[in-house]
Symmetry: C2
Subunit: 196 residues, 2 copies
């Protein structure tokens, strides 16, 4: 929560703002972007719809502010630092044991909103560009840094789909360590091989 | 359309059934499983909701019958046959130039329904098991055939997400031949390498 002394807002106001954001995250997660209205967020947060508009101006802005990426940039930065020759395995571990394990609901929420609404997909794209892609450009050498990261992330998002949404066997029931072993060589290839 | 002489149905009846299925595909594609009602399908197909229930019994059954996989099994079988050493490239080409190019709307529809509704995801899983996974078990040797196919498919579904939904650059704008070149080695690894 923002410190009210720093922002100059009254405590009640920042409390309402946080309550609206928390409610928005829950509703966007469960019902996607299209299925969530400013009115519904307001009703569930116990505030007037006008207050939501006062703080955020539009449903798109409310979504953008409530958008949480399913990882902590500092944690990703730590994963990206260090021995390049084991980066594939470290990234696979980061996805399987952090992103998909601790933040599965956030990943699901982002997927739901993105596949059902182009505006939500564009906001997620900008958030990923500003965080993960920017970090990759700093930590991977050469002009292919963003492409390498996108090949890795695309593969991992597909693994999330297969395990958490489609739940197709045998992939869905493999334990995390086995999946990490299976995908690490492909990720290592994308991260460090010469891309033909 | 089913041949009415073969099925013993009156022509008008099979015509209505086909019109309902066509409409259901369009609505499930645009609004997902949760956003589509039997009533809305009936209204748009110009029939009584009772007729939809007469043919299909429930929304879940209507979805199962309207579910189209984004590939022709005979075509996949042809891709899987032949030289094992170039299978990764052939599968990548199949996805990029057939599935994602000719049937992008079908892929999007399946994604939308699956990520927003667990029942729709389960029906898609059963359809994939009965078609693609069964084909893989016949064409790839050993007990890992299904797992190999799922690792490949999960990667390719993630590439679809990145290119067609998130539209993140540079991956989204690469031409199909370049993407095929990039992913073929990883797919080849999953299809034929010893899985550690």
């Amino acid at each position: 929560m923002l410190n009210s002394a720093r922002t100059g807002r009254r405590p009640g106001e920042s409390g309402s703002r946080e309550a609206i954001l928390r409610t928005a995250r829950t509703l966007f997660a469960g019902k996607g972007y299209d299925g969530t209205s400013v009115r519904a967020v307001a009703a569930r947060a116990g505030v007037d719809p006008g207050l939501v508009m006062h703080f955020f101006g539009s449903k798109a802005e409310l979504f953008a502010h409530s958008l949480e990426l399913p990882f902590d940039p500092a944690e990703l930065e730590e994963v990206l630092s260090g021995d390049r020759s084991t980066l594939g395995r470290r990234i696979a571990t980061f996805y399987l044991k952090r992103v998909f394990h601790d933040r599965a609901q956030t990943v699901l929420s982002l997927l739901r909103s993105s596949v059902t609404n182009a505006e939500a997909a564009a906001m997620l794209r900008r958030a990923v560009e500003a965080s993960a892609i920017a970090l990759l450009r700093r930590h991977l050498p050469g002009r292919d840094a963003a492409l390498r990261g996108e090949l890795v992330a695309s593969h991992m998002m597909g693994v999330f789909l297969a395990r958490h949404i489609l739940r197709i066997e045998p992939l869905a029931s493999l334990d995390e360590d086995r999946v990490i072993e299976l995908v690490a060589p492909a990720l290592q290839h994308y991260l460090t091989a010469r891309l033909r």
